[in-house]
Amino acid sequence: MTTALRRYPVLIALVIAALFMVVPFLIVAVNAVKSPTEYAQNGPLSLPDGLYLDGLKDFWERVDYGQKLFNSLLISGSVAALAVVLSILNAYAIGIGRVRGRTWVLAFFVLANMLPQEALVYPVYYLSKEVGLYDTRLSVIIVFTVIQAAFGTYLLASVLGQFPREIIEAARIDGASRWQVLWRIVVPVSRPTLGVLLVFFFIWTWNEFLLPLVMLISNDNQTVSVALGVLQGQRLMDATMTNAAALLGVLPALVFFLVFQRTLTRGIAVGAVK
């Protein structure tokens, strides 16, 4: 150990720092599989004696977690797909079509993206009640499609601005319409960027809290984030249930992370610099 310490001081410092980042996940996982009596006796830091899965099962049934997962998947999936489509249409007109006043249109989308949701939340709540969309998953899908598309337009417009124009010109000479150029050339060529956007929109929407909290009040419509946040806010959970909730909340994020890790890290770089 001491020789290792002397030989790899930087590595060891970084591993300790990384462990600090991961330890909360480990503690949660360890405690979610302890029985309440075991937890009461040995506290949160001991290793579990065996696998006790009733806590997880109880929690799953009590909050109807399957339904919450389905809602989150439905909302995030729809938003990701629709927002990518909307972003492409906008970015096609701005980046390739170079419509007049595009700088202003683009600035508008950027500012819309920066706008705090607090400045929209009450009117959105009020208007959705007026048109009968309050407490529906559709309302959340519509709002987030637009909010995410603001970022997507900003990013894609600059990517498409550098699209090789010869390809488009050639297709036009061959008689392709603008619509065909978009779907048969621009979309396939920019597929990597679109993939990044799809993943980002999905995870961002999955993690959203304020608007879904306000818009989705009935149990059947709530997302994972809202259901867990509300439960936590009520302070009604005991330690076992808290850990079950935390573990079940962490797991989907962990799955997305492992599946999309490369896209995520690459995409952040693209998004930040452009």
Partner: protein, 330 residues
């Protein structure tokens, strides 16, 4: 430019026979090629009007009224804003925002820079890219976690009774350091800040590592030959080279810090006694618990103005930096 536009117009006339969806009208042939692209913008613009512009204007309008959310809003001019100026809770919430900027922008950027540089030019060289990828993944993990879930995890770890942190302190013989981390008005804000550093750190780290990837390695080699140590190279090469990334990260993280809501909702609900109240949570409770919609709208309008001002300054700095860079190149 006009020449290409006209040529494009001629082509689109030919294309009309083939493409069913080309809606370019027969009139004003000079403008047609550009204007028909504007049709692609139509769904986006309509959706933005309905979901962002109209609600935003309504919110701004409501901030000049007295309104409980039902009935007709009563015009009150600047009364809400005048009230804000004398509202200690309002000032406290923005003061807490500054603390959040420290926890979510300044600290993660500084720590992220050092970590990114260490991972990039030390670990990668001595231990291989696999080690880099694993370590980076660990640091980034909290970023993909829903904030509500992160809040559950941490409020349990920081719990006064049976919380892991207090148990850990006890186990290593520091039992006297045990605290009610989220329940003590003097400590709660610092605890929330600690959690936010943990949440935020991965973002700057990943951006900076990507930025370092495009720095010319010869710069480092030359500096090393000249006998510059790690810190000097960090200070004189790394920092100046990834300055654009640093600007962007600081801007984004500052805006995120001003908007922070979920963490406060889940960890402390703004308490104890308003010790962790932030503008977004303050406007949320004013809207939906006190139903003083006009007053809540005024709070969120002030927040919006600050954020948009920051965003504009940031974009300006960014374009100026880009222009300067291009000026150097040509």
């Amino acid at each position: 430019m006009t020449v290409t536009a006209e040529r494009g117009g001629g082509r689109s006339r030919g294309a009309r026979a083939v493409g069913k969806h080309d809606h370019s009208g027969p009139r004003r042939p000079r403008n047609r090629p550009r204007d028909s692209y504007a049709l692609f913008l139509l769904p986006g613009v309509l959706a933005f009007l309905a979901v962002i512009v109209v609600p935003f204007l309504m919110n701004t309008g409501a901030s000049f009224t007295e309104w409980q959310g039902v009935g007709t809003p009563e015009w009150s001019g600047l009364a809400n804003y005048r009230e804000l100026m004398d509202d200690a809770d309002f000032w406290a919430s923005f003061r807490h925002s500054l603390f959040m900027v420290v926890a979510m922008a300044l600290v993660p950027t500084a720590v992220g820079l050092v970590l990114a540089a260490a991972l990039f030019d030390y670990i990668d060289k001595h231990h291989g890219s696999k080690a880099v990828a694993v370590l980076r993944a660990c640091f980034y993990l909290p970023q993909v976690l829903p904030i509500a879930v992160a809040g559950i995890v941490w409020s349990w770890i920081l719990a006064p009774e049976n919380g892991s942190l207090n148990e850990l302190l006890d186990a290593v013989g520091l039992g006297s350091w045990q605290q009610d981390w989220l329940g003590d008005p003097d400590l709660a804000l610092w605890s929330v800040m600690g959690v936010m550093v943990w949440v935020q750190l991965g973002f700057p780290l990943v951006v900076f590592m990507a930025g370092l990837g495009r720095v010319d390695p010869q710069l480092y080699e030359a500096a090393e030959l000249d006998g510059a140590g790690w810190w000097r190279r960090f200070w004189h090469i790394t920092l100046p080279q990834i300055r654009p990334e640093i600007y962007v990260v600081l801007l984004w993280c500052t805006i995120a810090a001003l908007k922070v809501f979920g963490a406060v909702y889940v960890l402390t609900k703004g308490g104890p006694g308003g010790a962790t109240n932030v503008p977004s949570y303050f406007s949320f409770t004013t809207f939906f618990e006190k139903t003083q919609v006009g007053y809540g709208a005024a709070i969120s309008t002030v927040l919006t103005i600050i954020i948009l001002a920051l965003a504009l300054i940031g974009l300006k700095l960014q374009t100026r930096a880009e222009d300067a860079e291009e000026g150097l190149r040509t």
